[in-house]
Amino acid sequence: MATIAEREEVAAPAAWHWTRVRNNRNFLGFWFMLPAAAFLLLFLTYPLGLGIWLSFTDTRIGRDGVFIGLENFVWLADDPVFWLSVFNTFLYTIVASVIKFALGFYLAILLNNHMPFKAFIRAIVLLPFIVPTVLSAIAFWWIYDTQFSIISWSLTKLGLITENINFLGEPNNARASVIFANIWRGIPFVAITLLAGLQTIPASLYEAATIDGASRWQMFRHITYPMLTPIIAVVMTFSVLFTFTDFQLIYAMTRGGPINATHLMATLSFQRAILGGNLGEGAAISTAMIPFLLGAIMFSWFGLQKRKWQQGEADD
């Protein structure tokens, strides 16, 4: 047939080489990867390296810096505000993550029950996670207002307090308030992802345990928790990572105040680098966050490996 003859002609020696190249996996792979790789190399890998380099220079806004070795870090090591921000970051991360995990897990177990309007309830539970953080932070800012706080008003009317609570003006109150707002935003994510995990646990396990006379706690401890361990590891890695590097909630509600009591490393680096103009010093604070992030990433990596092993999948 004519078409076959034509094809053979096209595939004849001159074109042969080109067809082979075009179907070569690596050649194709290169072109398919190009757009994603361009974005990630230009705006992620390069800035990551540049940020580490900047932390060893004295760059200011509008002036290129020179290499000054560890001077930024030495300077930060003597800076009580930096150490306060490190302390705040750890306090914020640990307290918020533990409570988010406990309450999120509890909510996931509750939502795994049968109840009226189940789908609707699950949908609205995620709302705090969907709505832009800054916008809900502004709502919290108003709820925590010194004069017109609805919480203070209600507690006064109930006769529990006699004067308004200074939510964001007093260091420890401010810490508790921002941590509460962070927990409020984080619970839905933990709850909904763990709920997805809960639904994959076969009901037969619980039936068998019920027949064997296991209590609710025993079922949780010996079925639910072990079955969920891998997904918990991943969810909590994400949760810890995003809490540790949080910026918007603090910036919207307190800007690090009062007297730096709620400054996190991210907000401090913004203040020093963008508002203060010391790009080098700000970059040094960001760089100081990297070791912790690496720790969290390792943790997540092993969490993933364990899951694959449990499912009997090959590592790929």
Binding site: L48, I138, A196, A203, I231, L241
Partner: protein
């Protein structure tokens, strides 16, 4: 259903004409697993009550946002004459001020433009990358998959300082393009990871058939893989869109003039003059700014949840 069960059961139900108990019986039959072992009062205390408490706390800030945005200023600062939990004379004055006396419409437009463009660019790049990693399997594709997962874990708050310098050097400072080009770094790792999972689930035989019939890789991607993975692409797109709308630190750092700002940044910086907080307008701004994401979310709840959980599970 009670009507369809054996006659003895029906007789038993007739012997107890209590409607509530029959309802309970039906509920028990409908429930799966071992739920029927707990009685309704017990379920109320252990399940419904805590769920209601959670819902109250999770939804209260939205109620408060909505209520404040329609309260007249006099009611906002007067807690004595009226109960602040309710509104007596609702008003649209705050929305009016927001829409006609500030740049709010243009902030909305900026955010929408940035979110839609960045999502589109990211999805195109991610589809190609995910397909190459999962199906073309060039040498080193496993490594690249792992690196993309790592990129997912690099937070914007350690990148914004060097990125500010890069954005300035490229001459993108204070332009929406700065955000359109930097947001994909947050979105691509996530959507590639998610789409890799979807592509893996498409039978390889379909592609083999197409290859034998002489289709090119691009044709296979466009005509076979894409139509089959539309749910995955919608999921990734929805999630990416909400992430864009939520992004704050890049928008705060790279944009300086009022008319180019995105909603989250503008509400925080432009609606507050000095020490005077216009709480009504602030809450109205926060509420309106949440509407687009809430709308998109309400139409695609299942997609959204599957993308969120999928990204964690894959």
């Amino acid at each position: 259903m009670a009507e369809q069960v054996s006659p003895s059961r029906q007789a038993a139900a007739a012997a107890r004409p209590n409607l509530f108990q029959r309802w309970l019986e039906r509920k028990r039959e409908a429930a799966e697993g071992t739920d029927y072992l707990t009685s309704l009062p017990k379920r109320f205390v252990y399940v419904y009550l805590p769920v209601l408490l959670f819902l109250f706390i999770l939804l209260f800030p939205f109620y408060w946002m909505g209520l404040t945005s329609i309260k007249p200023d006099t009611e906002l600062i007067d807690l004595e004459t009226h109960n602040p939990w309710w509104v007596v004379n609702p008003t649209l004055a705050h929305f009016n001020r927001l829409l006609f006396e500030t740049d709010y419409p243009s902030w909305m437009w900026n955010t929408m433009l940035v979110a839609v463009s960045a999502t589109f660019l990211s999805i195109v790049a991610s589809v190609m990358a995910a397909y190459a990693i999962v199906r073309i399997r060039y040498s080193g594709s496993n490594w690249v998959g792992g690196l993309i997962f790592l990129a997912y874990l690099v937070p914007p708050s350690i990148l914004f300082i060097p990125l500010a310098i890069i954005v300035f050097d490229y001459g993108l400072f204070d332009s929406p393009l700065a955000l359109i080009l930097t947001y994909p770094t947050i979105l691509i790792p996530f959507s590639t990871w998610l789409l890799m999972g979807y592509f893996k689930s498409i039978p390889y035989e379909l592609e083999e058939c197409a290859l034998i019939d002489g289709a090119s890789r691009l044709q296979i991607l466009v005509k076979i893989v894409l139509p089959l993975s539309i749910p995955g692409i919608i999921s990734a797109g929805i999630f990416a869109f909400t992430l864009c709308w939520n992004e704050f630190i890049y928008a705060l750092t790279f944009i300086s003039s009022s008319e180019n700002k995105t909603v989250p940044v503008a509400v925080l910086s432009e609606l507050i003059d000095g020490d005077i907080y216009h709480w009504g307008a602030l809450m109205a701004g926060a509420l309106l700014g949440s509407v687009p994401v809430a709308l998109v979310y309400s139409f695609f709840v299942e997609h959204y949840v599957s993308s969120m959980t999928g990204a964690v599970k894959e």
